[in-house]
């Protein structure tokens, strides 16, 4: 029996301990904001926070998060108004939107660890999150706006 916390709520899992966290969140809990894009930690669409750190939920086994706090896009802010989410809306970042939860979770983790990232640090940290529509310039701008307010 694995115990974990998801978006502040205590949960248990008595199924396969090797099940990727991604599928637990999406199919067992119903938190579908976290997306499946590749299953190999290559695209970043499945990014969540584990103990505040960005993690690729598609290669994180349930046994890896035993006793840990997991945060998904749905739990990032109770009102959906995390500074990164607000900046994303101000800059109109998304097109199709499918990668955006992962992008936002990656950016939010970055700003927690480094509230004032440089241009290069933003690019480096966000480089593992693929956007097929090509919203990269706006992603970069939005991360900067979330950090600096401008």
């Amino acid at each position: 029996m694995i115990k974990l916390t998801v978006n502040g709520q205590a949960r248990t899992w008595d199924g396969d301990p090797s099940l990727p966290l991604l599928w637990y969140l999406r199919d067992e809990v119903g938190l579908t904001g976290t997306k499946y894009g590749c299953g190999k930690a290559l695209c970043g669409a499945c990014t969540v926070h584990v103990e505040g750190q960005a993690a690729r939920s598609c290669i994180t086994a349930m046994s890896d998060v035993a006793g840990q706090k997991v945060t998904t896009i749905e739990g990032l802010d109770p009102h959906g108004d995390h500074p990164v989410q607000k900046a994303w809306r101000e800059i109109n970042v998304p097109q199709c939107g499918f990668c955006q939860a992962g992008q936002i979770m990656q950016a939010a983790a970055l700003l927690t660890q480094n509230p004032h990232p440089t241009h290069d640090q933003i690019r480096e940290t966000m480089s593992g999150n693929i956007c097929r529509c090509g919203c990269y310039q706006r992603i970069e701008t939005a991360v900067r706006v979330a950090a600096t307010g401008a």
Partner: protein
């Protein structure tokens, strides 16, 4: 079933506002009427598309007593914004306040909504005018209702920002207060519609409206195909024949069934290739979650018969295409005498360009949910072609269109892949087999292995130059398996719609032009991908221009402008029968060399053509007309 899912699908956008304003159930103005067909103010190819366009306000607009205006988005949203922009056009024309508009996604029903094939870069081109007509008709019906209420002439009232105002007295009535009366007004016929003067637009062209799904996307609430969940739903992944044309021989489910969470292993019906968008068949693993289904599939033991394409090898296929490109093929355009001009040319430059297969790789791999029950099917899927999906579901299940409901979710990218509904048909077949709702999830590996791959191509261009370095002859051979091979066995030549994408519509001012299309047999499922055949054709033509500039020591931009020649409407000559112009009338959308020149000059200006670049860098310039749009690029 409808009740379970309806709140999630229909209110995909602006859920927060829905809660806040408390929409009532009593929508009016919407009526189950037969559609008025749309009539564009200028001619487009829209009416040649299946089911054309519709401009009936009763189909697209409803107004609740509290004034909330619901506008139907009938085209699929995959990141281009048409789910926002077309309803926004309606809102602008009807003087609705965008903050009080809810966008609702239409299910697949082309008789009602007009064509829903969201492809071909034509949502705005084909639907701008019909949607303006919808908005204008709704506005004029509201105005007529207000004039009656006040017993004044209709010329004394006008719609302003969600209200009708009596201009003489300043009296106002909100849209909600007039909704019932307006619904009883006759629909204004197209010829009598008064469209807004563009200077009065509130939203169109202003760049101020964000996409309707913005908040949901940033909070994880936006619903894509893979996000639909129904009570009792099972999760499926499928092992498909690794080679197109192959089929299942036998399988052993024993090890798969040992995987925790796996519930069933069953065969999926496949269709012989080519079969348009029918499923490839194979073995499905049904589980309590997707992760278990994937592990179960990994544990499956399957024996395949690889069929006629077993030996297909892209390296030797490339050599085959190159050989074909070096020999004459079917002539698809001929001006002057390119053969003779090449022979007598001072210099001949040859370029040969190979492009491999491309996979679509949308961020959201194909996924769909289906529920088959009581002889009916309801699906939730990220499809670009909800109308076609409905027809194919009906055919595949042997039921009537009216027993098929296709709910269109957001698409996490489409690029033409999601025009092909094989993954939806798979979900329906599996739901029928297991007697429960089923979600089929394609893994990323499935997406790449079993895609309707973009054509692989060899393009060979021979250009003859005179002593002055002017191009006097151009022979372009394009060899590429055709999309038609996915529909018709043995199709080996590019279809008119492929030839028309940058090959036979070459806009160059060269006296001797010959385009040929040697045959190429397909060995994979060939499908359209983004700009389709423009990719290989434009890549070859524009790279060749760079090569010619290099050979002659000229500036590539000057070379390009010289080849385009003077501003004019390009006539490709009589050898091209019925030039395919993206399905549009050539009279509305001619090939305009002046516009090509214009975008070249514009990009040269913006991109600072000719600027100094660091050592080891270079600048390249290209221009192309794709889907009747003109595009120029500079790359460093």
């Amino acid at each position: 079933m409808q009740q379970i899912i309806a709140p999630r699908i229909e209110n995909v956008s602006r859920r927060a506002m829905l809660r806040g304003l408390g929409i009532t159930a009593g929508l009016v103005l919407a009526a189950p009427v037969l559609s008025r067909r749309g009539m564009a103010a200028y001619s487009t190819g829209a009416d040649k598309m299946p089911h054309g366009t519709v401009n009936d306000p009763r189909v697209f607009v409803s107004i609740a007593p509290d004034g909330i205006v619901t506008i139907i988005a009938s085209r699929a949203e995959m990141g281009t914004g048409s789910r926002t922009s077309l309803p926004m056009v309606v809102a602008d024309e009807m003087e609705a306040n965008w903050d009080r508009v809810i966008v609702k996604q239409a299910p697949g029903d082309e008789v009602k909504y007009g064509n829903q094939d969201t492809d071909g870069s034509r949502s705005i081109r084909h639907f701008l005018i019909p949607m303006r007509q919808v908005g204008a008709a709704a506005r004029m019906m509201l105005e007529a209702a207000a004039a009656k209420r006040w017993n004044v002439s209709i010329t004394e009232v006008k719609a302003v920002n969600h209200e009708i105002v009596h201009t003489a007295t300043g009296r106002k009535l909100g849209f909600g207060e007039l909704a019932n009366d307006a619904a009883n007004e006759p629909v204004v016929e197209a010829a009598k519609l008064q469209l807004k003067d563009p200077k009065d637009f509130r939203y169109i062209g202003k760049g101020k409206v964000s996409i309707v799904d913005l908040r949901d996307i940033t909070t994880g609430n936006a619903m894509y195909g893979a996000d639909i969940r129904l009570p009792g739903m099972k999760y499926a992944v499928i092992a498909r024949p690794p080679v197109v044309g192959g089929k299942l021989v036998s399988f052993d489910p024993k090890d798969a069934m040992k995987v925790p969470g796996v519930e069933k292993v069953i065969e999926v019906q496949g269709w012989p290739w080519p079969s348009k968008f029918q499923p490839l068949g194979g073995v499905a693993v049904i589980a309590r979650n997707t992760g278990a289904a994937i592990l179960g599939r990994d544990a499956l033991k399957v024996v395949w018969d690889d069929g006629a394409n077993a030996k297909y090898d892209s390296v030797s296929y490339r050599a085959e295409l190159e050989n074909a490109a070096r020999n004459p093929g079917e002539v698809v355009r001929n001006n002057g005498d390119a053969e003779a001009a090449l022979k007598s040319a001072d210099k001949v430059v040859v370029g040969e360009y190979y492009l491999p297969h491309f996979a679509h790789v949308s961020m959201e791999p194909p996924a769909a949910v289906a529920h088959v029950a009581d002889g009916k099917v309801e699906v939730w899927a990220p499809v670009q072609s909800p109308g076609g999906t409905r027809e194919d579901l009906a055919k595949t299940l042997g039921i009537s269109d009216k027993d098929v409901t296709v709910n269109v979710t957001l698409l996490g990218g489409g690029f033409g892949r999601k025009s092909k509904c094989d993954f939806v048909l798979e979900a329906a077949l599996l739901s029928k087999a297991v007697g429960a709702p089923v979600k089929v999830q394609w893994t990323r590996e499935d997406d790449i292995r079993h895609d309707f791959l973009h054509t692989v191509s060899v393009e060979r261009i021979e250009a003859g130059l005179d002593k002055g370095g002017k191009v006097v002859a151009w022979r372009h051979r394009s060899v590429a398996p055709t999309i038609m091979s996915t529909f018709v066995a043995g199709a080996k030549h590019e279809a008119p719609f492929e030839l028309g994408m940058g090959l036979v519509d070459l806009p160059f001012d060269i006296p001797n032009i010959r385009c040929e299309n040697p045959e190429a047999a397909a060995h994979t499922r060939i499908g359209w991908f983004r700009s389709v055949s423009n990719i290989p054709h434009a890549f070859a033509v524009q790279t060749m221009v760079g090569e010619l500039a290099h050979e002659t020591g000229r500036d590539p931009k000057e070379m390009l402008l010289e080849l385009i020649g003077p501003a004019r409407l390009v006539d490709v000559g009589p050898s091209v029968k019925d030039l395919w112009d993206y399905g549009e009338p050539l009279s509305s959308y001619p090939i305009d060399a002046g516009r090509l020149r214009g975008v070249v000059e514009l990009v040269a200006d913006k991109g600072e053509w000719g600027r100094q670049v660091p050592k080891g860098h270079g600048l390249g310039i290209a221009v192309h007309r794709s889907f009747v749009s003109y595009i120029a690029t500079i790359v460093e």
